[in-house]
Structure formats: C-alpha cells, structure tokens
Amino acid sequence: MKQPQTSRRSFLALAALTPFAVAATTACGTSGPGASSGGGGASMWYLSGEPNQTTMQKAVDAFNSANSSDKISVTYFQNDAYKTKIKTALGANQAPTIIYGWGGGGLKTYAEANQVEDLTGWFEQNPDLKKKFFPSVFGAATVNGKIYALPNQYVAPIVLFYNKELFQKAGVQPPNTWDDVMSLVKTFNNMGVAPFSLGGQSRWTSMMWLEYLLDRIGGPDVFKAIFEGKPNAWSDPAVIETGTKIQELVSADGFIKGFSSITADSQADQALLFSGKAAMMLHGSWTYGAMKKAGQNFVQSGKLGFVPFPTVADGKGDPKNGVGNPAAYMSISSKASDKEKESAKKFFKDGILTDTVINAYINSGSVPIVNGIEDKLDKSEDKEFLNFVYNMAKNAPSFQQSWDQALSPTAAEALLNNIDQLFLKSITPQQFAENMNGTLGK
C-alpha cells in the first residue's frame, strides 16, 4: 500500500484551489466590458435592437472620443430580459451609472428606494437643456414633484400600421371605426391573410389594444381613476366593454394564428406584416424604423400605411387622443461614484441628443422629443410618417403613457398576466376587472 499518497492529496488540493483562485480574481469587482460602478468609469445599460442600438453606440463613441476622461461603456440587453435584470442589479447595488427606463411607476419605485439621483436642481442649473424638450415629456419623469430622469430619444405613440399592397388587392380602405375593423377581419380571413399581426407572448403588445379601446370607449378619465387607485376603478363599464370587444375580435380570428407564442423582441410580428402574411398591425412607432431596416424595401417603396386607431360608436374618447411612450427616460444611479455621476451628467448634456443623434432618429423614422425640428422633419424622406407622429403627439388632447409603465411594477405584472389570459379567453372581462381591482394602490 505504498502509494504516492501525498502527491495525490496535494494534487487534489491544488485542483480544488485553482478554480477558486481563478474565480477570486474574476469575483473581485466585475471585470469585462459594461462593468458597473467599481472603478470602471461610467456605465450604461441600453436596449438591443436596431436601429437604435447603432444610433446609441455611435453617440457614445462620439462622446468618448471627445471626452476621454469621462468615457462611458455600454451593455445591451433585450427588452424583456432588461426589465428583470435591472431590478436584480438595483437590488444588488450594482446598477449601471445610467439607467434606461420608461418613467412612471417604475421610476417611482427606484426614486422611493433612493436608487436614482434627484435631477431637479441640475435642470434648474441648465435651463437651456430643459427648454430643449417637449414640455409634456417631463410628466413621466417626475415623482413627488421632483425630476428623477432625463427625457430622451423620441416620442413613441402607438400607430395602426397596414400593408397597402394587401389592401389594394382586397380593394378596401383602412378602418375608421370599430365596425370597419370587424368587417375587414372577415375580408382578410376570406383572402387567407391574417387580419392583424400580434406578438402576444410579450403581452405589452396586447396591452396596446386595450389602451386604445378603453380610451376610445370611455375617455382618458377611466384609466386616470385606475392610476389614482380609486376603489373598483377597473369595474368601470368601459373596461368591461373593452374586454368584450377584444374577445369578440379574438373569436373572429382577428389575430394571426399562434399569436400567443410570437414575441415582439424577435420582431417576428413585424416580419409578418411586411412579408404579407398579415394585413395590419397595431404597434409602437419605433417599428417604422425597424421595418425600414429589415423589411427589404417594404417601407421605402411606400407599401407601409398608417392611420390613427379607429373610433368606437358612442365612444366618449376624443379620436385625437394618443397612447404610448412619451419618451425614453435615463436616470443616474445614486450609488455611483461622484466622478461617474459627473460623466453621466456630461453625457446627458452634450452627448446623448446631439444633432447627429437627432438626425439619426429622424432618418430612421422617429420623432425626437426636441423642439424646433419641424423643418428637419419636412426635409426627411419619411416626412409623411414623421409629421403624422409629430402632429399626433403635439395635438393630442390626452396622451396616455403605456399602462405597464405608468403603474407600479407589481400592478403591471398582474396586468400583463391578466391581459394574457383575457386574450386567451381563459377569463371573462368581469374576472379581468375583479382580478385587477385587487391590485389597485399596490
């Protein structure tokens, strides 16, 4: 039994220690690109997806080369993954310096947990910056009277897109009323084309339908009551009617078969529209730019049409009302170092919405939230769409922020879950209202 025991034991010990040693070096302070606070300079998390990803990367690169001591590093995440990841990061105090968001209830959670910087003073010191933006965008950035985020990017209302080629083929016009919608459903189903494309698995895409329907039927006050947490606000008859109409649409095969397994992140829903498998699509205005890039000349050859959401007979809502994202919102992590915060603020002032960036957004079919761009819009090749969006945003008597961003994350998650079930017809509109009433004020 004279085995080389010591050598075996020491080998085992060495083998056991090596991974720890390696791990320890990688554990202390997160290394690699996109590192969060901890000596790596200011960092930012942003959404992946074209064309915005390239636009942002170019803006960051330009800023970095002009400001070598304030470099910003960016990490890109997919939309749905981002929404969860940023929460765990915040909880672990490892959030990036610049936090991307949609304002509203989500921002409120961060502000109340003291995770984001109060920028009110900074804006007062930089009045030019404040005047640059549409005045309406600051609403979603304000919590308890203080501003906690920089409005950014573009205004993104929800638009009803349609495939002009398919409409010509069918010899029909885009819908003006809900009754038009229902008859178009029959027409296109007979033609073997899905009436509406929908990325149902993402759920907030289905939510867009409810946002508009509720506004058209009951006006903006219905959701206002919900937002304020008034008891049983969800049981408003307008909500029930909205739910009923949506389920009628589903039952009439209004949406593409298999919609509940299509995600918006993969942009498969957009592909269905420009590849001619679906006739219409209700989606955010940002998809115009995405479809311009991926649609193989579908947009450029003028085949993409767009109209406002149809009205509903006897509806109280103003047909000019809009629904969507007033802007994107960038906050600064309160846990970042002072240097990182300064770099971030510098970027906010000089780098994030430069003329280059503004032009890039316009070129990709988005309307930046900057005042005085009417001329630029008119000169663009997409001026029809851009003016459509711009006028909608400017003239809408009421512009409702996306529900899942306006409400708290807890209520939002319950909302998305219930919307999913509503569209699957596993719950009735009444049950939907009941379930949602339980989340009021949470």
């Binding site: 149902g200 807890t410 998650e413």
Partner: protein
Amino acid sequence: MSNAVSTAPRAAARVSDSKQTDQRKAALAWLTVPALFFFLVFAVIPLAGVLILSFTSWDGIGAIGAAGLDNWFSVLADPGLYNALGLTFLIMIVSWLVQTPISLLLGVFTAGSQRYRAALAVLYFLPLLLSSAAVAIAFKALLDPNFGLATGLGLPFLAQDWLGVPQLALGLVIFVIAWQFVPFHTLIYQGGVRQIPKSLYEAAQIDGAGTIKQFFHITLPQLKYTIITSSTLMVVGSLTYFDLIFVLTGGGPGNSTRILALDMYLRGFRANLMGPASVIAVILVIIGLALALFLQRLGGKDKQGSQLEGL
C-alpha cells in the same frame, strides 16, 4: 509466568485499544466540519431566510420592511397559488406515469446482452448531455409550424400552436421533460435489472413460466428498491423544474404552465413581491420534505446497515 507476561501486554493493549478507538472516533467528527460549514451557511441559513422573508415586505430594490402575516394571507387566498400547486402535482404525477413505464421497459431492454442494444444505449443517453435551456430551445425550433418537424415529416397534425394553446403547452412540457429525463431513469433501471440474480429466472423457466409471467413475478418485485429510488428522484426533482419551463413557455400561455417554482420566481423578480414569493418558497420546501419522508416510509429505508447478509 509466561502466561502473566503474555496476558498483561494483551490486556494493556485492549485497554489502550478502546481508548485509542474513542479518541479516533472523536477526532473523526472534525472531518465533517467543512461539509457542515458549506451546508449550514449556504443551504440551511437560506432556508431560515426564506421563512423570515415570508414575513417581510420587500420589492427587491429598496429596504426590507416587516409585514407580519399579510403575505401569508394574501398568497393563501390567491387562486394563482392553487393553480400553481395543481399544475405542479399534475406534472409530477403524469410525468411519473409516463416516465416510469418507459424507463423500466427501456432499462430491461438495454440490460440485455445483444450487441446492438449496447449501441442503442449509447445513443439513448444523448438527451441528458444537453442543458435544459438547450433542450427547450431545440424543441421550440422543432415545433415551428412552418419550418419544423411538421413540414419536414409532412404531418399537419404536428403543426399545432403548441406553445400558444394552454392544454397543448402543458402536454408539450410533460413530453419534453420525459424526453430529457427518461435516459437517466433508464440507466437506474438498467443497473437494477442487471443485479437480479439469474438463478431466479432459471428457476422460473424450469417451472415453465413464460416471459410475461417472469416479468411480473420476478423483475418487478426485484426492482422494488430501484423503483423507489427512481421515483423519489423523479418526484422530488419535479418540484424543481424551472429551467426547461422558463425557457420553453415562461409560464404561459396565460398561467397554464406556471408551476410553483416558476410562480415564485415571477412573483419575486418580476412583480417585485419578494415577501409573497418567499411564502411560495416555504410551501415548496414543505412539500419537498413531506414527499421525501413519504417515499422513505414507502421504501422502508430506515435500514442504514449493510445488506451483505442474505446473499
């Protein structure tokens, strides 16, 4: 004289023997310290933590506050909990009903001596090598109604909206779980079958029993412990299915595949409700313990001693 001389050292040896033995046995206790350390710190303390967190209100971002029994009341009154419980047990039972017969039969099959069976066994093991994420992604692509298996095999039946219709999604989940884990249980049964003494079969043959009779009267009873082991692993394991279902369906469509573990994760990390999520975690632990105890009883595994006797 020589006697005294010879017995004295032996008696002395016996005395120092038992003293040594005690010392040795006491010293052994130290050997458990490292394992105990890891286990206590990273398993037992979090277990206590789950219980404590279930009485707090925390959104995962801000500070942790006390919430008394609120979370317990709200979760126990939430129909979502019972949906998740029902689904978890449904998947558990159906999975067992599907996987056990198949694994058993395959185990018997691969325990055979034919050369080709050994070759097959090599291939059968493949699914186990894939991570659950990989399996889920592969099946998602496979089930694409336009570019997947349905078109490939020319079977329109396969072109259903698998991931979009609640009942289909559930059935699919059970199928994919079976696809991934049957190989593992097959191995267990294969080993079990190989241990059955040939003498039993030869005796039965002499008595004129046919293969089917032999299967039911010899193979199955002899596999009792194997069945218990495999079932325990299967049942307790099914409580922890997360990866596969998360990537495949994310709990949907609607809530139709939202099992307990997934429900816990979504409540905590998506809806910012760490307190209620911890309540669900506690429920998970309780069920796991209860199941494990129940299965232990069933198998009479209190015998810790060696089973050398009798063979």
